[in-house]
Symmetry: C2
């Protein structure tokens, strides 16, 4: 069999390992005594409109249509509703003919990368980054090039980005609100990023696609402005999922949107359709396709995430931890109290705190804390964080 596929599964991710460790600990010492901050799974239910709309569809739609194949890129009316929603919300000019419904954001990424890349071409990501970008790029025959964010601020290191882009660069993946830092990309930074990419497109005489992985788009807790990338860059591709906004991670429903201003967008869209076919993805799950129009603009109750973020950020900062201020998603990126984040994560286990070391995100010396958890668990965990801190400083 294929050795690489075996490796991909047998080298279990650190996140998954921690999660499994936590499950076992809970069996031994009880659920309430383990403080699991490892997994990024929505902790609140989908809004009622999801359940009501699904039941309504099941009760009122002819099942042959409801569960039948749509066209490969998804039902046209559903795609139209998405385009109209985005245009209304962001003032862009997107069209259903450039939207491809997918079984989640992972599918959106594997399909987009497979559509774009030829063997050996490069994809740039900014570390820390979601580790699956490496897996998906490899699957498409491409090579990942990592540009580290600036230490401390975690802003994009534009100087190093300029140096990293070369003739082989075909795409740059961004992910805001970011996993694992929770940061967003402000308008000025996005404008600067786009200017660099546009210049490099001219230098190298080919498109450099900006792929925006946006499962956390709606998870922003202050009045922070999150720019919509097709308004800023022509050759842009949005990979979206309803997983986090509607708390439907298991249902695998999302989309690829190619900017209506992309060069040769028709050809790119056809390549996306071809890649979907090649990977075995045509026709996203139909019941959830038909759910979309009634749920656009709705989200789960996100207030609990804000409560959790504020509580954790303030309390941990007060203890003395150094944390990147997170504008969104449901992650805190906290500096480890020793150089080796794995050692720090192990030390935290002494207090039953499960924190993901940052190495798997391509960045050393930090831990990721997922706060899509019960607020009550956070309150009970705070004294443990204090004790962990004291181990190092008292």
């Amino acid at each position: 069999m294929n050795k690489r596929m075996y490796e991909l599964s047998s080298h279990a991710s650190v996140i998954r390992e921690l999660f499994e460790y936590g499950k076992k600990r809970k069996e031994v010492i009880g659920n309430d005594n383990v403080f699991d901050f490892s997994i990024g799974n929505p902790s609140n239910p989908c809004p009622n409109i999801v359940t009501n709309s699904l039941i309504n569809l099941l009760e009122k739609t002819d099942p042959i249509n409801l569960h039948g194949y749509t066209s490969s890129p998804g039902d046209y009316e559903v795609r139209k509703s998405i385009a109209e929603f985005l245009n209304r919300k962001y003032g862009c000019h997107e069209v259903p003919e450039k939207i491809y419904l997918t079984a989640g954001a992972a599918a959106a990424l594997t399909i987009s990368l497979k559509a774009i890349l030829n063997k050996g071409e490069e994809v740039i990501v900014f570390a820390p980054f979601f580790p699956e970008y490496a897996v998906f790029t490899e699957n498409a025959g491409g090579t990942l090039k990592i540009v580290k964010c600036l230490e401390g601020s975690f802003n994009i290191d534009f100087d190093n980005l300029e140096k990293a882009i070369c003739q082989k660069t075909r795409a740059v993946i961004i992910n805001y609100p970011n996993n694992p830092t929770g940061k967003i990309l402000d308008r000025d930074s996005l404008v600067k990023l786009c200017a660099i990419l546009s210049k490099k497109e001219k230098d190298y005489q080919h498109e450099i696609y900006l792929i925006s992985d946006e499962p956390y788009r709606e998870l922003v807790y202050d009045d922070t402005f999150v720019p919509f990338i097709t308004n800023y860059y022509d050759n842009s591709i949005v990979c979206y999922s309803f997983s986090k906004s509607l708390s439907l991670p298991g249902e695998r429903i999302g989309y690829i949107l190619i900017s209506n201003n992309a060069n040769n967008g028709d050809i790119l869209y056809k390549s996306v359709c071809g890649a979907g076919r090649s990977l075995g993805f045509i026709c996203a799950p139909t019941l959830f396709q038909y759910l979309i129009p009634s749920c656009l603009g709705y989200t789960s109750d996100l207030s609990v995430y804000k409560v959790n973020r504020d509580l954790l950020y303030e309390s941990l900062s007060n203890i003395g931890y150094e944390i990147v201020y997170p504008d969104g998603a449901f992650y805190l990126f906290m500096k480890a109290l020793e150089k080796d984040a794995n050692a720090f994560s192990d030390r935290a286990k002494k207090y039953e705190l499960l924190l993901v070391p940052s190495d798997s995100f391509g960045y050393k010396g930090y831990v990721r804390i997922s706060y899509c958890v019960d607020s009550d668990m956070i309150k009970r965990a705070l004294p443990k964080f204090k004790k962990l801190f004291d181990e190092y400083y008292i």
Copy 2:
């Protein structure tokens, strides 16, 4: 972008082209005057238990669990229910640890092939065959080797199969009931096939996997026995979908089953998990995962397919057409009345009959007739088939 992906989409399939042609004709001359036998989509609704179970799940299950991530290969209890069902029905000894839930049979195939194949290794298919096998094999870096079925009987040509297997052969794909012939593989033929593969495994000192693509498993209309392959061959993989049996083609729910007797089955299963990750497929849609246990053993009302098959087979045979007797699926494979099946298909259009020429199935001189249609349409189409026949023979 990737030229091959563009080609895959822009070279629209003949089936899709015929279907689009039919849609346009219907607009011009009316729905009732076009006889569309092109598409293999279930024409009857899912059984009531599907709708009722889905509503029940939505009303009674905590939405965080219902729509949350399961483990990557799918919920363990769901996999267990499938294993137990198969063991009860077929007397096999399968286990949940070797089942991987997928978003449909296409996903099951792309994942299995990616798990097995290394670059340049060969997959054998028997022509005529479902054209996507070529696309999926290519995606996994493999090469397709085609062994033509025996003319007329469409049985496996075992002599040519033996010659085709070589050091590079890693898998053989079978598909019964077959698309496009509707044939099944009887026990004797399966035993013979397995004996050849076992011998070749010894000769070449490596596994040759038998992959059984089984979306039509339940669509058999007489008392025909359809053997279950894990009972006959150790290194076997079943790719199943609930699309056709439950009339849920759009919902993308199926599974990969690795025989519990497969050599190094644990390693193969891990490779499947890695391939699912690589392609972006982890966690099949959860609502439909949880639907499975209540629907195992149920099917849509299949009697209409039998009615259609009998009507078409008898009527067309009586007119004088030569047809392979179809035991299952919802396809008839009929000999074209001239050498060039494309020309014959074009001629049929004169009578508004949409028949898929067999060339895209890797076989010349036939047309595929999908009979998952209204029986009434068949009745109205029969005089057209007569006129088409008379064009050639009067």
